[in-house]
Symmetry: D2
Subunit: 80 residues, 4 copies
Amino acid sequence: MTQSGTNGQLKALVERIEREEEQKAEIAEGIKEIYLEAKSGGYDVKILRKIIAIRKKDPSARAEEASLMEAYMNELGMAQ
Amino acid sequence: MTQSGTNGQLKALVERIEREEEQKAEIAEGIKEIYLEAKSGGYDVKILRKIIAIRKKDPSARAEEASLMEAYMNELGMAQ
Amino acid sequence: MTQSGTNGQLKALVERIEREEEQKAEIAEGIKEIYLEAKSGGYDVKILRKIIAIRKKDPSARAEEASLMEAYMNELGMAQ
Amino acid sequence: MTQSGTNGQLKALVERIEREEEQKAEIAEGIKEIYLEAKSGGYDVKILRKIIAIRKKDPSARAEEASLMEAYMNELGMAQ
DNA sequence: AAGGAGCCGTTGCGCC
DNA sequence: GGCGCAACGGCTCCTT
């Protein structure tokens, strides 16, 4: 780590970060509302989140993972 | 929890969420870049994050907290 | 919240907590080692963690969850 | 990642992990009880947790961190 | 019922 | 390129 800046750029950096954080928080709020909407529509929010997460992964990675899961569960005598 | 919707609103909800998530990710990327910038300016990113966190709390809550911290540390014989 | 204790019980409480935390950390270390062992045996640690998590849930909850997942994925036209 | 083991060691590994996890959970339960005890004694649990966290860090690291915090807050015109 | 705090698992990053 | 650490997001419990 080098020397700390002394020319007052810190304040500018902090304010830029706070502005972006604010925007991020607004978006997050919007997302939360959509989940609430889904909930009123009868959807299970927790499962919905899992679905979203799955869709983020590329299909082959996902398939690989599912296949490993199944193999391990078999080896343990668990029902899938 | 009521019955699950069956009229295809699920797809719309999922896509709205994904769109918002995308935007959120872009903002997060921007924030990360500002931190990198700060780092090149010689600032300690970890400390910077703490500063940002502190500024999010309102001042009176912060003062109360600091005072309690001090009291407990005294009671434990710790240097502040 | 009532008044803060002043008769030095704080130190005793803190030390008891720290002792327990220490033990917890040792156990966590042991767990980590078992995962490493599993890894050397050719197992995928990430998947293994998921298996452990699944086993923690009771079977009916697990079945319910899986069935919902499948339903939603169908509704979205995703391959399972 | 190499080939998955096929000689049934998986079950043994899983059970060892679950046993250790169980012990860890018991300790965690004990810690929670001590915090409750502290709370009935009039201590603020959240602050108490911060104290414990601070004590985990070695003193010089802590001093360095505190000094940086102060410097940044000065540069931002914040009261400490 | 809603929000906050702690905990856990995951991911990304820097170090070695 | 593996390892450990720190930030992040999600889940749960508890409080209000």
